[in-house]
Structures are given as structure tokens and as C-alpha cells.
């Protein structure tokens, strides 16, 4: 029987938006949905997922799972998927999902596809599409020769359902005792407590037009008002103004937020490869000929040092 299993990710007991989107998609299709959760608060995650329509959960709850260990997670997830007898596994194309599921797929001798931007569930059928060649085209995905479809969806692509009340049947699996070849020694939390770029719903990105590193504060202020995550072009990463983890583009992160605000970014093809599937793109640039305007939904031709503080104030005014 066809069965959908959503890999639920949460942080601090709150479901990630991408997970809620997947739960909503399955719920709206009328199919039964189970989840799979592992971590230090997997039970909380399961109960949260119930609010979005999940009726069953297979969990592994252990403080050992607070940090991601690819080897341990692979063994557990493979085991849990087999238990569930699911035919389709849905997960977010987060950095954890992207690292974990290709290996899970290989172990299950089945296909895993990352970075999908379209998902349609009709009956037990799923149709997915993903961008290819730096978003210069997209294609539909066909699964062959494998017992299970593993689909990783980019966040911010699907509608979010509202939470309701629901009950969930939880099955726990024990942490296996393994002789691991992978040891996580330490995890240094990123300075930013904000959402990862790949999951952010709003991104404010800066380029060389900002002139110098300290002017990124202008973007930080704007981002704080919007609850946005700050991104950057490669030019400023190469200049050492900001960390590579903030780079958007072909050799940085591929993002698809609802709103992408590009400030002082010219819009090189390699940058656009990473953000062109954003729902709404705003470009702020003093050069009316900058290529970024060709991809933008809205453009302001002007000096960012003039525009940014006013924009931050205006957002503050209307959003408060």
C-alpha cells in the first residue's frame, strides 16, 4: 500500500516550516501521513506534527541525537523507513536532509532526489519537479527500479496549513548500539540565531555596492525588522566581509524564499542561479542597467545608503 512518511525536523520543539509544508501537502491530498522523528525531543516533534494531520509516528528519542551524526542517523532512518513500510518519504531539502537521504537511499537501494520545487500528490501518485543547470531549466522526476521514493523539497514552495487538534500513535525505537566510525567532537553554533538561508522565508542580501564590511549593519537592521536572514554575493564573501555560509548563488546556497531583497548586487548569472526561483525579488541598485533588474519583481533605482534606512523605517512603521 502507498503510504507517506514525512521526516519531521524541529528546533526547540517547534516544527520547521518546511516540515509543516510537507505535512500540509499530504493532509490536503487526503492520504494518511506518518512521521519519522529523531532527536532529543522527538516526542514533542511528533505531538506537534499531530496538529498538522500526522496520525502515526516512529520516533527515536535520545539526547545522543541532538547533534547530527550521518552514520548513526542513516542506520536509524533506514530501519525506521523499513518499519513504516512507506512507499514515499518526504523530507526538507535542508542541509541535514541533503546530507542524510542520499545515503539512506543508497542503503535502501532506491532513488533520492533533492532540491524539488514542485510537488503534487494525487492518490498514491506523486509528481515532482526540480530545477537543473543553475535553474536555467527544470524537469519532472521519474523514479525507477526502487522500492521507495525519497523526495526532498525546498522549503517555502508549498502552502502552510493551520494547526488543529489531532492525536498520534507513537512507536519508539531504541537507539542502536553501534561501533561508529564517525565521532562528532564539537558543534560550534553559528553566531546567527536566525533561520538558515535555505529555510528563510525572507532574505536580505548585500553585494559589493555596500562598499565595506561594516555597512552590512544596514542590512542587519532591515533584516531584524523583517525577521529575515542576511545573505551575500560572492564578491563580498571573497573580500572577506562576510562568511561563506552567507553566500547565495551557484557556488553558494540555493535559496527560494517568498521575498528576496538584493541590495547593491549586480545580478551576475552565478548569483541569480541561486535565487531566481524566489517568489518575489526586489532589487535596489543605483545602476538602472544592472542585470538584477531583469529578474526582479520590483526595482528601485537609487543609492542604497539613501534607500535602506528609509526602507527599514517604513517597514518598522507598517509592521508594528
Amino acid at each position: 500500500m502507498g503510504k507517506f512518511l514525512v521526516f519531521a525536523e524541529s528546533s526547540g520543539g517547534i516544527l520547521k516550516k518546511g516540515t509543516i509544508e510537507l505535512l500540509t501537502a499530504v493532509k490536503n491530498s487526503g492520504q494518511a501521513c506518518e512521521i519519522l522523528a529523531l532527536g532529543a525531543d522527538a516526542e514533542v516533534t511528533a505531538n506537534e506534527a499531530a496538529k498538522f494531520g500526522a496520525t502515526g509516528a516512529i520516533i527515536c528519542n535520545s539526547p545522543t541525537l541532538a547533534n547530527y551524526n550521518p552514520e548513526l542517523f542513516t542506520v536509524l532512518v533506514v530501519d525506521m523507513i523499513k518499519k513504516s513500510q512507506a512507499s514515499t518519504v518526504l523530507a526538507t531539502s535542508s542541509s541535514l536532509g541533503r546530507d542524510l537521504f542520499p545515503r539512506v537511499g543508497a542503503k535502501l537501494n532506491t532513488g533520492a532526489i533533492s532540491d524539488c520545487t514542485e510537488l503534487e500528490i494525487s492518490g498514491e501518485n506523486v509528481v515532482v519537479r526540480r530545477p537543473l543547470y543553475a535553474a536555467k531549466c527544470s524537469a519532472a522526476v521519474k523514479f525507477e527500479n526502487g522500492p521507495i521514493k525519497i523526495i526532498l523539497m525546498r522549503p517555502n514552495q508549498l502552502p502552510l496549513g493551520a494547526p488543529g487538534v489531532g492525536s498520534i500513535k507513537i512507536e519508539s525505537v531504541a537507539l542502536p548500539k553501534l561501533d561508529l566510525k564517525t565521532v562528532i567532537k564539537e558543534v560550534v553554533r553559528g553566531t546567527s540565531q536566525k533561520l538558515d538561508l535555505t529555510e528563510a522565508n525572507i532574505i536580505v542580501s548585500g553585494g559589493r555596492g555596500l562598499g565595506e564590511a561594516k555597512n552590512f549593519q544596514l542590512l542587519e537592521s532591515l533584516a531584524n525588522v523583517l525577521g529575515a536572514t542576511v545573505g551575500a554575493s560572492r564578491a563580498v564573501v571573497d573580500l572577506g566581509w562576510v562568511a561563506h555560509s552567507m553566500q547565495v548563488g551557484q557556488t553558494g546556497k540555493t535559496v527560494a524564499p517568498s521575498l528576496y531583497i538584493a541590495v547593491g548586487i549586480s545580478g551576475a548569472i552565478q548569483h541569480m542561479a541561486g535565487m531566481s526561483s524566489s517568489k518575489v525579488i526586489v532589487a535596489i541598485n543605483k545602476d538602472a542597467q544592472a542585470p538584477i533588474f531583469q529578474k526582479a519583481t520590483y526595482g528601485i533605482v537609487g543609492d542604497l545608503f539613501d534607500i535602506l534606512p528609509k526602507l527599514t523605517e517604513e517597514f518598522k512603521r507598517v509592521l508594528s
Binding site: S95, K142, Q270, V280, L311
Partner: protein, 259 residues
Amino acid sequence: MKIFVCIKQVPDTETKIKIAEDKCGIDVSSVSKWIISPYDEYALEEAVKTKESNPGAKVIAICVGPAKRTQSTLRTSLAMGADEAIAIDAPDSLDTHLTALALAKAIKNEGGCDLVFCGKLAIDDNASAVTQQLAEFLDMPHATVVTKFENSAGISIITREGDGGNKELIELKSPAVLGASKGLNTPRFVSLPNIMKAKAKPLKEVTLASLDVSLEQRKISFFDFRPPPAKPSTKIVGGEAEQQVKELVRLLREESKVL
């Protein structure tokens, strides 16, 4: 010490992409320039650096793809410091699963290895899958998005970039498969003498059939290729800064409703 580096040949980032007649791929004949996928340059550089600090070590570059075309990329890899190269002749339509399987079998045929370096992802399919699949088929631990690497006494000590800019310090028992990211090193320039030397280095060709891998076994294929949806034309918000800002915020709230 034997180190493999997996090199993918991809269309240059600036190339225009033409969709094939049958819409089941791109028209590869329209691609004017092929390059080493940028992250694989970091992988190669790290392999060569590791070799340089481990006397007697050997670096083998390995690439899956149409051998006639990928040879040039492998020659470049040899010029960048690899000692030998293997071209696994295969169609472009192989999926990541079979690519990894072919790589694993070829590596095993060579008697295994101590380390494998891959790139964080290939910039054409953006899959970030082959590294982990290869590790599974070789039964080795893996780490992706590696920004720092040290090797001592059979242990790889790496730093990887996790979610939200987290830095994860991980130890892996060798042999291991590592996915190189930016920040790991600065790939060296290819010098003319090294290009000349590369011509004399061994480059061998291996068929998919000899590895017992066939296209029919693939798990994933793509069809119905389409160009990206046309964006509605850009609305340029005019006026003085105050007006521009007010109008933009209004549009975001009332027209596109993203806020």
C-alpha cells in the same frame, strides 16, 4: 597512501542551455565549454596537498561521463597535480546512484584507497548526493561541506559547515569519503610545464559494462524539461526615495502579499 578524487565535468556557468528535442535532457552539443565542477577543484587541491605531506602517496582522478569529452577535464586534473586518471565512459544520463556505484566499483578494482575527495555538490544537478552514495557503496564514513581537513594516524579530523552556519568538528576513521567546500584551500593555478607533464601521465579508460553497471538500473531520470517560467516584467518604483520606499512596501503588502 592512495587518494581518489572524483571529478565531474559540467557546462561552464556562463553557457546557455538548450533543451533537447525529446525534452528528456539538454542538448549537450550546444554546450560550448566544459569545466571541472568548481567544488571538485577544492577536492583535487586537498588531495594533492595531502599527497605532498605524505611521501609516497598517490592521487588518482576519476570521472564518470562520455570519455571522449571528459578526457580534457582529466588532463587538467593531471596538470593540477593528480598522478593518474581514470575515465569511466558513460552517458550523461546516468543518475547519481549509478554514478556512485560505478565510482565505487572502479575504486575497488584499483584495490581500494585511504581517502576519497569529492566536491560538496556538482553545479549542474546540484544534487549533493554522489559523495554520500559512494561512501555507502564503499562502506566508509562520510562528511560533506568540509571546510577544514587534517589527517593523522588514520583519522580524518574535519570541520564541516552544518545548518545555520554551525561549525561541526568531526573525526572519521579512514578510509573516508569527504565532500570539499569553499574555504578548504585555494586551488593552485595550472602552470605550462605542468600541462606538458600531464600529457605523459597515465589516463585509462574503463567501460560501464566492465563495472557491471548499466543505464537500465538507474533509479532517477528526468523528463519534460522546460525553460524557467517567464517572470512578469519588472515594476520599477519611481520618485524620490521617500515615495519609492512607501510604494515598494505597499506593493509587497497589497499586490504580492508577501508581508
